[in-house]
Symmetry: C3
Subunit: 158 residues, 3 copies
């Protein structure tokens, strides 16, 4: 179901700060989803994440495209790495359809040349460790719904 998206501003509170340590070979998305479920965190924001990742897949958009973004406007990049995880920015909010957490992450990765790569993250495995600090959000009625503009699940306020 595609929903008309509108801008919004909502004042909520940070409830808990969730400290997570992931281990080698763990899947980043599956573990974040499990942590959210096990600990009843409906809405969260990544406050900080460091460690290292491998077998990473991410996408970026091509220059000079417009909206709506089409499949051919995006470039998927796959790299075995491993890489230092330099930033992990993102959030999770419940899907409007089934209430399951929709995790949206952008990552930046360090390479041995000192240069840096990254994008909208689709898949990643922990290499040595991941120290992830999540702020859980209380008092919010924001959820995620499919956008006809971005073709991704985007934030929407009921």
């Amino acid at each position: 179901m595609v929903v008309i998206h509108k801008p919004f501003v909502e004042a909520a509170k940070m409830d808990e700060v969730i400290l997570c340590r992931l281990m080698p070979e763990e899947d980043l998305f599956a573990n974040l989803k499990k942590i959210a479920g096990d600990h009843g965190i409906k809405r969260g924001v990544i406050l900080s994440a460091i460690g290292s990742l491998k077998n990473v897949v991410f996408v970026n958009v091509r220059p000079h495209i417009g909206i709506p973004v089409k499949t051919e406007d995006m470039v998927e990049i796959e790299d075995a790495g491993p890489f230092e995880l330099l930033t992990l920015e993102g959030n999770f909010f419940p899907s409007q359809e089934d209430g399951e957490p929709v995790i949206h992450l952008h990552a930046i990765l360090g390479t041995s040349s000192g240069s840096v790569s990254g994008g909208h993250l689709l898949k990643a495995t922990v290499f040595t460790t991941a120290e992830i600090i999540i702020g859980s959000i209380a008092g919010s009625s924001v959820y995620k719904a499919m956008s006809d503009v971005t073709r991704r699940m985007e934030l929407l306020k009921k």
Copy 2:
């Protein structure tokens, strides 16, 4: 007015967590300023921001320069993009002169090659969406004043 700047450490509290969704064609700085004004957020820190930007202007400093930083020490880069917004780091505090929010942002942007660019952000327009989470800060007497060293508005404690 140029002020002598001093180091400081101040313990404050995070009051609210402000969830914002910006829409295509919206100006990033103008909207953050409007959100701060409309919702009475005097002091804030960007906790997280993802989405995509276009028509971006940012600056970086040249290597081997000293302080004070001169205009010719900075390189301005303009790029129509669009880009995935991979990180947005920054804060806003009231100007010492007129109390208006001074917004200082650093952004990192993903490109279709997988490489990443960024710097001190001067201008940006939302491409598809921007999901910005701001922590509002209570119990602070920090403001922004022009620094003779950086030639930018910098943090200062009264």
Copy 3:
């Protein structure tokens, strides 16, 4: 002492938000350690940091390596800069051995070409300013202990 590391999830609270301004020529790690000590912040997460750095040393891992990470798997990069500090991601927790704060930081730096570099930060000096916002964490029993896998001090829950 090398400790067997395990994954964990711990719910804690954000206590205070510490606003710090560092000045030109100050050492980043020494100052963060001093701030943590002077203000009794046992556990903290970097929520945001902007400004500029110089005389930076950081490391990244080589591609196609496995664990445990060996010294020759890491590439150390030293650059006088200066650079815009685009992100500083990391945390500090007390060492299991002596209770001293172990500061783990990843930084991303802007260059005058608009490209970006970064990695696991070992050393940095403030160029013009550093505006660092730390969230202090209460209700946590997490500390840092040497990992036999990463050969770094990693998060561990008692």
